[in-house]
């Protein structure tokens, strides 16, 4: 079933891609194939291969349980949030929060998680910003 869903998504993507290729603005001077020719070929390959696993799916993979899925979902949200707040809070604070969260969710005790958060964040800051001179995001306090 999973492969059929993937094939369905792939087919939709192929159709969408082919359609998007047709609306590429026609340039003033073009070559024999033009900007839409090659994408069309790719859309066909995408479509045909997707069709193959709709018709002949592999054995079902082992999907995680709902709460494991939620775990990954939360991690993704936290990572998006990290990207959002990085320029606001600065590297050190934002990184402490996300590292501690990930450490905790990967199975550490809360105290270990916080310690790893602080250690990783400060350690990476010292290494990359102070020693190697990269510019990591600066927050209101300058770090």
């Amino acid at each position: 079933m999973s492969d059929r869903v993937l094939g369905g998504v792939g087919l939709t993507l192929a159709v969408f891609y082919a359609w998007a290729a047709t609306i590429i603005p026609e340039p003033f001077a073009s070559d024999a194939i033009g900007p839409d020719g090659f994408p069309m070929i790719i859309a066909v390959i995408l479509g045909l291969s997707s069709l193959y696993f709709v018709l002949k799916p592999d054995p079902e993979p082992k999907w995680p349980s709902l709460n494991r899925l939620a775990e990954i979902g939360f991690a993704v949200l936290i990572m998006f949030g990290y990207a959002e707040v990085l320029p606001v809070f600065g590297f050190v604070f934002a990184t402490i929060i996300i590292t501690a969260y990930l450490t905790w969710r990967l199975g550490a005790r809360p105290l270990t998680a916080i310690l790893n958060g602080v250690g990783t964040s400060v350690g990476l800051f010292v290494l990359f910003e102070l020693i190697f001179g990269l510019s990591l995001a600066d927050g209101p306090l300058g770090f």
Binding site: L6, I24, D58, N116
Partner: protein
Amino acid sequence: MDTFVSLYDGFSIALTWQNLLLAFLGCFLGTMMGALPGLGPANGVAILIPLAFTFGLGAVPALILLTSVYYGAMYGGRISSILLNIPGDEPAMMTCLDGYPMAKAGRAGEALALSGIASFVGAFFATWGLVFLAPQLVKIALLFGPAEYFVLFTLAFATLGGIAAANQAKSAFAAALGIGIAMIGVDTQTGVQRFTFGEVHLYDGIDFLIAIVGLFALSEVFIFLEHRSSRGEKKEEPKMQIGRLTPSWKLLRYCTPAMIRSTVVGFLAGVLPGAGASLGSFLAYSVEKQVSDPRSETFGKGDPRGVAAPEAGNNAASGGALVPMLALGVPGSGTTAVLLAVLLTLNIQPGPLLFQNNPDVVWGLIAALFIANFMLLALNIPMVGIFTRVLLVPSHILMPIVAMIAFIGIYSITGSTFELKMMVFFGVLGWVLRKLDVPLVPIILGILLGNEMEVNLRRAMTISNGEWSALFGSWLAIILWTIAIVGFVLPIVLGRRVKKKMKQAEEEGALTD
């Protein structure tokens, strides 16, 4: 003779203090990455690429650092195979078969040292193979026109899954996905925008570093989250006695023929498009078993030749995989695809012209590989204890650090939070695709080579006034088409059998526990 002069020049580039230091750092980090189960050479290089750039390294030093990581990771993969029976990466799988039984018999130190030496033999002679074979291949490649290049790229995609490919339809799907992503942005031929839908962030296309780091490094974090061990659970410790770390001359002599045979087999497997290190180690082990132990009385039960063969084989294959990558611009394995990304980011186009236009890059790199090999030998025999201790760091400490290094790398290159979100998106995509057995390497290769492939197709068509038959217009093109078709079809016919055999070998190994 020219070759030796070039190589000498290469050494004069590689033997500066900065480059030596970078090679050492790369070897050390690479071995560590390789030793950790789950983080293979492709991940290792992927995570460190952005950092190499942010240090502002030039082309040669950056390449030296990252290829040292590559070689280091290939060396390191064997450590957890031998001590824990968990391969650090796929090519190290075969090393478990005899390495772990040896360790259980109290000969862990010997197995580690022997495999280190076998890795050295494989990689060292493969690097010589690279020195002699790559310039020859370049001579052929100089005859290539746009049509032949287009077919060559097609060949790269067709054979990428290798003989053990799980599902060729999925490889094709992945390649098309990657090439499709490469099309986003400005069309280099006409300058029109494609697939950007007016989104300013997409005007320059999607940077392949973001895709690579997301697909490889972040998806690994999600996999760990999915399988996280329950709280407080201790990691399996390599409790066993390491024992003596210097193998006896007698043992070395006993294993020398195995190392030589496996180096040849592995190197050939590496050079052939799409085979790669996993097949290199598998073939080396199988050949060795056929030759020296056909009735399987000692193999799989801790025969030292069964440790030496796959290690020489997989390291020779990684050297071999650099031949098509440097000479043709077509990577032979996943990790070389990642290394190709490094070259492209440094504005270096691999392929025959690289040997003419940037001989310093090619020969500096090759010299660095030789140096890295000696460093790795020196690191891996006496200091193997340090690397075994890496296995004790729990993944809940390690994986968040991996994730943060990925974020730092991308942020310091792009300075944009949009790109960070894009990387997370690729991480999720990588996780889903890995669950569905869709290979990630063709996606990367598609993003890397898609534009070049299209440019060559359009050039060929322009030259021939739109005649498609131009793609079959020369002997070279026809040969390449034939290899491509055979390479694509063969796994469909043979793939299941090879895959089954590899699995069987693995299970037999597990049974001897």
